[in-house]
């Protein structure tokens, strides 16, 4: 297994590229939104909100299961233990 600093060195350019891609997509959305008449719902759009929450999660200390697991759960529908009752199965 490589050491932590080696992983950082190895992965830096790839992660940098992915972060710039994220920034560019958000810029693109904002740039086009600025030309549209109705933009009121964009900031509260569930997908936009989820992306911003995900970005915030990356900056927090790692959750017990890790950041990847935390993001996966953020992007997931919740599990309802009583699903059998809801679906009558």
């Amino acid at each position: 297994m490589p050491q932590a600093h080696q992983i950082l060195d190895d992965q830096f350019l790839q992660v940098r590229a992915k972060l710039i891609e994220v920034a560019a997509v958000l810029d693109r959305i904002d740039r086009v939104a600025a030309t549209e008449l109705t933009t009121a719902d964009l900031e509260s759009h569930p997908k936009r909100v989820a992306l911003e929450q995900a970005i915030g999660l990356l900056l927090q200390d790692a959750a017990p299961g890790g950041r990847a697991e935390a993001l996966q759960k953020l992007f997931s529908r919740p599990y309802d233990q009583r699903w059998r009752d809801s679906l009558s199965v």
């Binding site: 697991e69 996966q72 997931s76 529908r77 699903w83 199965v89």
Partner: protein
């Protein structure tokens, strides 16, 4: 390194892919029945598909030295049609003794609906009645977490089923622990964009270890890469992992799981028919 892809849909791939897989070290594959990209209109459509899986693909694979195994079911997407599903489920026993049929799969959920759950439970009953191993598809994207938990609830609720004979596929970071902790096999699907990259699969192997864990390409008619397992092998080697760990994930674990099926007659490369592993 010789490897086995335990989940790949070769009916959707061209013959050149078989040649490439062989050159990359693939010695065996298992092909679960799945959604063909359109809803089939009759049980006879599935009968023809099952003949393709049990008669045609094994010959196509054998031409490149690859052993072909398969799983039979009506998939979760078409399970919305419960009456058609019941016709298909009633027909499946006709094929269970065909050479290379490993069990029932890939059954599961797609949008976590009532009809999907009903048909999933009826497939479980079929597997229990005929003593068949099971290969399970878990839903995509935002439905995966809820759907995987629902599937585990239904599996846990059937005391006839042995957990060591069930593979829960397409696990990701938020579902893998629950599957392994409950004693099932877990499969990581290496798939562009929507499932798991080789790098993230390597992370999960490092985090959870190789016990009851496999990787597959799920190569199909959509954006997918049938040679994704060699990519995982490369990534694990790049990180300095032992060849023994890599071989366990991509070769020994599929064999150990497939041995749960009475139709699994595997010949390692170089062995004659008389030496076959049963």
């Amino acid at each position: 390194m010789d490897y086995i892809d335990p989940h790949i849909h070769m009916v959707s791939r061209i013959t050149d892919d078989y040649a490439t897989l062989a050159r990359m070290g693939c010695v065996a594959i298992s092909e679960p029945a799945f959604w063909a990209g359109f809803d089939r209109g009759s049980a006879d459509g599935f009968r023809d598909y099952f003949r393709q899986l049990t008669e045609v693909e094994p010959k196509r694979a054998a031409a490149y030295g690859i052993q072909h195994f398969c799983w039979l079911c009506i998939n979760a997407k078409e399970a919305e049609n419960v009456s058609l599903s019941r016709e298909v489920i009633a027909m499946i026993p006709e094929f269970l003794d065909a050479p290379g049929v490993l069990g029932i799969g890939e059954i599961g959920l797609n949008k976590n609906t009532r009809n999907e759950a009903i048909v999933f439970l009826e497939h479980l009953d079929l597997a229990a009645q005929y003593d068949q191993p099971i290969l399970i598809h878990t839903p995509h994207l935002e439905d995966k977490y809820q759907g995987t938990r629902m599937i585990l609830d239904m599996l846990d609720g059937d005391s006839r089923l042995q957990r060591s004979r069930i593979l829960v596929d397409h696990v990701e970071e938020h579902t893998i622990a629950e599957v392994l902790d409950r004693g099932y096999w877990a499969g990581m699907t290496l798939y562009p964009v929507t499932k798991c990259t080789p790098e993230r699969a390597a992370d999960m192997i490092e985090k959870y270890g190789p016990e009851r864990l496999m990787a597959n390409s799920a190569g199909d008619w959509g954006p997918s890469k049938p040679t994704a397992i060699p990519d995982l092998i490369f990534e694990l080697r790049r990180r300095g992992h032992d060849e023994s760990l890599i071989r366990r994930i991509v070769y020994e674990n599929p064999i150990e799981f497939f041995k749960n099926s009475r139709n699994f007659h595997f010949r390692p490369r170089g062995e004659t028919v008389a030496d076959s592993v049963v």
